[in-house]
Subunit: 305 residues, 6 copies
């Protein structure tokens, strides 16, 4: 009988399973929140962003033609659905690192109620987000000679695509909601090759042309009507460390771009420097110092020898 | 009674809905074509490209093994389906900016008939597109020491992936079909990090290695057997403006690469310059002038101090 | 009667079908393996990677909360499923280029049995893969001041995302399984913009920040605790050719990074050079020679004139 | 060349295609409406019924828990969606038999506008439909000793399942909308084995136990609190014909059941007879005459010889 | 401004929404459990039954060929998944009618723990369920001259289809789990037209030929090797009532069939009568009294006049 | 260490798995074909029937409006797909009971080639099947006073629904293809409650009204223009047995209905009797003898006492 049963086993596989079930193997990355809320769901967050996109640009996304006369009904139900889905994910996010943040064990009830408040607080910023995104659309349309209508930029420009996620993520970040902003940003990063940290503070009418390889750091501040091209980095020079050797968090370490700054492809701007209003930074340049307003920095000449 | 009903409302949500239903909030980006055709559908365009990919490389994509003896039947039905789906999207594209293009209000009937003609005209270029793509496959196979068969490059090389979309988009662009070519190009851009404008004119046996960050502008002309590496830009130096300050459209403003030019990683070539046949442009270089045929331009040396 | 039937034909379409059915048109890319196994399936490989991800990081991916007490059951079934799916794809891969590799016609049976062995051999490396990935998670958490928990990096950091695929692909590559490693790598390349060849040999605690545009070549060797930023290339200087002009395969042609090397954004390191332990390579540099251990290479200064 | 192409054909298949493309083969059932609206969609009608079910019994169907405080938002959007989807199907139904009904060719516009009116007219009956269905739920709960809560009957009783469809179909039928009511009825017939013609007029608190095989004809009239068991037929005795031999339509030819009539399993009641209030019809009986109020008709005795 | 907003409303729709949001309209059927567990999910229960079917008949259902050597792994994971999904639904079922059953408010924790126990208790009956179903398969194969293999009956005979659900439902019913057994039974009823109450006690080797219209009541007892044909009813004669007029629950009111009884099509057996072993009941008969063992009851003769 | 691992086990579950892995438990129903073809797939067969339905009634099923001018292309591809899918299922069916049928072990190759031939042979009957189904549509339209167009009956009448499956299944049955015909018939039985054995031989213009509970046995022969109502049985009186007690197969044991016979609801006709042309069989009758042409058999009168 024993023998019969062992016929239904594959010894090699059993060994692999044994190895992968050793606590020493999985514990360093085992997720163990204090509450029993499930893991944050990337799929749900994608769905939330997709619903938000429909709310922000009615008629562009989703399956059906917009009907103005019933827009209100669909919008209200959409926002209600978002508030429900987002509350749930925020609750999970709040519990995600309970241990790490030294938070005393909150009851599930109080976490859920806090999550609901935060979801509504976020939804209240939607009019502001739409205002900013409309200005980004105008910037994309005016800045690209190939664009024929503003509508076109909403449908397929990576600049609009990444800014929809960023403007959402930035408001969630400003409400101190953990994890979710970063997941939303990385999702746009994956699609566009543009990596904007949710903390970056970006003014109206922002436009990134082509965009692949752009990196904008957490404490960057960008004024109105700025424009970047592909491969531009707004980064930090170095990370200050605490006495114990760990990295210091929360220090302003990325550039400030004042209004109407243009940065051409491949330029690298590092550290808490200020690029003055109306300055132009040439392609492939390497900037680690302040640049006065109105200045034009040209690219490195090539040497042919 | 009133009171009962108000129990079923969430005042905060109502306020947000009110704000987002203000015409001043949504009108700048409201899509309102003259005809009542729905918005262009990204999902449908993806499906069309996917069906085209199956028609161009029979046996590589789709769920089932190719059966040569019935290839003709499946191909004919596939093209018929594409013509139906593409006609519909072209009709939407033609109506999309009726207002902006000062087109007198065309009847839906005449738009649909024009769209059908354009779809067939495009399908007639498929033999040419396949010829070019087969040459691109050969180039990828011969150019990459890691490639073991041409088939492999079709399955997973970003160069082939982006060129399938580009060769399709370029023919649609050449037929003056608006919007659709750009959406198809951006979709490949998102997957590969390679941004080729549908207008770019690219010769046989083209290969891009790695590819992330490559940008090829609208009026670029690339000869036969050229090869690019990651991060190469073929861009414009500046955008000439009309007297009213708006950008002038349609001017040849991107580089010409003659046959057998190689451009190494990170090189930037700007403006309507000509890179002569058999020239080699080194990595990280910055080119804004003509380069004679056969020349080798080396990269900037690094300075260690 | 004839006439009636011809009503059901579209002559233009017939012509296109005729052209695309010309053997001269499709034969150069026709897939014709000796066995009758179907084409490798990208969708199945995606599914396999997704199941592996669940096996490696239990609780992070998939729909449900991890239940520790039944982890073993789900893991065993998961590995069994993977072994079945992977065997099938490996069998297809082994047959894919039978012609090209001069392999005498193997029976389907012997190919399938070889494929099963290889699949199990690969599964046996999973404990090692998990060990390495756990070290990568630690590196990501420690290296990014924005990271709040290791768990967060598993959920959304492109560095972890690309390394999951790479560590899998590298073991498949080391077992001489053709095609599949490259498809798995390109899939991560598409999502992250990071292009790591499956052949690259990468030590523990590896971290890539931002990552877009990174290229790591086939024969690269990277030690422990190294870190790269976006746009870094570890490439080959040139491809040696055989007497017949074809590219020589299998020669060590990419850089060696010893332990604890950091390479900043946009740096290009080419050829079989060695970057010594603890060296730091500045952004936008161009390196084609050995760099001694502990050295700091600074970036090119910009010239403003 | 010719020969090559013929290699890509399967003669037997070609012959079958030829035969099936003979107009004489397909024309008798070819659908050719005057307008170019597509065929009625069974899938869309299923979706509409499913949305209606959610509107009628909030919280029972669909994926999520009902939230009372936002029920109004979801309901309004749901009804708006239903009105859009239903208008489209009604428009198709109105055009479906334009030829047959001698309707002069209506413009698509006027059909669509008529369809919209009818959809809204139908939606206005939803409060009445819910009232009736709630009474049916009460009847099911009170009539079945196995039922533990009214809620249970909504979740799984065939009686409620078929009545949801019938009460919807009957209102559509009363608005003279063609085809759609029957499709909705047949869909419930398929699921429950209960065949109620949309024309049947059924009072409050109706309950069918088990139900398989029940048939209720078009002109049946059923009072309040009636109850049927499986296999009951309320049918017509014969179909009167016109002088030309075709069946006369629209004549009252099915039974009338007054209030509180019970009909046991397998009973057959045929023709325009009246079963008086509070009568009980025994199982397996065959009734073709009026039955006075309060009467009990017993089943045929079995003969054992 | 006000006016603008009202443009986005449809007054008729608002009125319907108002009517449907009247508490008096929806409250009689509003689901309001004491705990906040969601409504029982028909979709989840379908999935559970489908997984059980795979566990009971390995290799017949599901997408892949059975591999004996790894059956154990897949089975263990399958049962673990079922236990998780079923626990959740049982918890919901336990809370579903808390109010009605006078149960003091249980904590969610204790309900979930009770649900887990019940799920495991049910799983422990699987070997018994498989034993009975295997005997039903044998009965179907031996009883139908059209059956060529036992396997065939598993794939498509309604008798096996309904008995899979019944044998599952009956064990759940025996554990006093509310609601779920009935939902599972009704799901088979819908597919097969055979309505077996979960309470019915059915012996080994049971077979129903054709089956449509069969009804088997809650307290029926059926011995071994019995066989029924389509349209057979094992019902109750009447429902005894309590003094308050409500139906008395739990009384034995359906027939007992001893071993090897055959009941032909359309026969109706009512009340707590006993059909003795080896008896044969003819088609279309009406039985309300005991039938001695071995008796043959013939059908009613037809009268032709 | 051991202890740690045992933490990841659930003893009760292990016991159940052990019991269900006992060969004595699963072997009686273990599917073990000689070849290694997978089990017949109900899902694939559903898909095949669905594609056949589209081929038979172009324009009624599937997602899109029929375009006459390209019907030929879609039809050819559809039939090619069906031939591929059906060949595969036929091959599985041929191997399904290799053991039972004493067939010497055929090579997979020869089975596949036989399956291909059979699939094409079946496809060659499609013109005949369409001819018969068109006649059934006419019968349904003319026979039901509620039908407004023939098209309507195709969309939703159970009679057409079941006859599509039957006419397909009957041709497969006539080609001696095992298992598949029955699976296709049972699938229609489940949807309509009408159980027609694939062997039944049914003439033109057949119509079943309502239909639930109808059973038509394997050797039934039905002439032209016959009509049945719900609950009609054409069954066998008894099953003759072989000397060893097993049922004799293949004997003509069901009724013959000559042309233009009508059988009303609930009638039972048993044995190899002949119902003469133009006869009418009343409802609820029980017929076991020949009925002369033109006769009207009335239903049993009910006895009220």
């Amino acid at each position: 009988m024993k023998k019969e049963k062992s016929d239904l086993k594959i010894p090699v596989l059993d060994n692999i399973v044994d190895a992968l079930c050793q606590p020493s193997s999985y514990e360093p990355v085992l997720y163990r929140a204090k509450s029993h809320l499930p893991m944050l769901s990337g799929v749900e967050l994608q769905k939330i962003v997709s619903l938000l996109r429909q709310a922000l640009f009615p008629g562009y996304f989703g399956e059906t033609t917009l009907r103005l006369e019933s827009m209100r009904y669909q919008l209200a139900a959409n926002l209600d659905t978002i508030s429900r889905l987002l509350s749930e994910q925020i609750a999970r996010a709040l519990c995600f690192d309970c241990d790490n943040r030294g938070v005393e064990q909150l009851s599930v009830k109080s976490i859920e109620s806090r999550a609901s408040e935060l979801a509504l607080a976020f939804l209240s910023t939607l009019p502001k987000i739409r205002h900013l995104l409309v200005s980004d659309v105008v910037a994309a349309y005016e800045g690209d000679p190939a664009a024929k209508t503003p509508a076109e930029t909403i449908l397929c420009y990576p600049s609009i695509s990444v800014m929809i996620n960023h403007r959402i993520a930035h408001e969630l970040y400003s409400l101190n909601i953990p994890f979710i902003p970063r997941i939303i940003s990385e999702s746009a990063h994956s699609l566009t090759g543009i990596d904007i940290h949710p903390g970056a503070n970006i003014g109206e009418e922002f436009f990134i042309d082509h965009g692949t390889g752009v990196v904008i750091g957490e404490t960057s501040i960008i004024g109105q009507r700025c424009r970047l091209y592909q491969g531009v980095t707004l980064g930090a020079l170095s990370f200050p460390k605490e006495e114990d050797g760990s990295l210091t968090k929360g220090i302003a370490r990325h550039p400030i771009l004042e209004d109407r700054v243009t940065v051409y492809a491949g330029a690298t701007i590092l550290g808490r420097v200020t690029i003055g209003a109306d300055a132009t930074i040439g392609g492939n340049t390497w900037i680690t110092q302040n640049v006065p307003a109105g200045t034009k920095i040209l690219q490195t000449k090539y040497v042919n020898d």
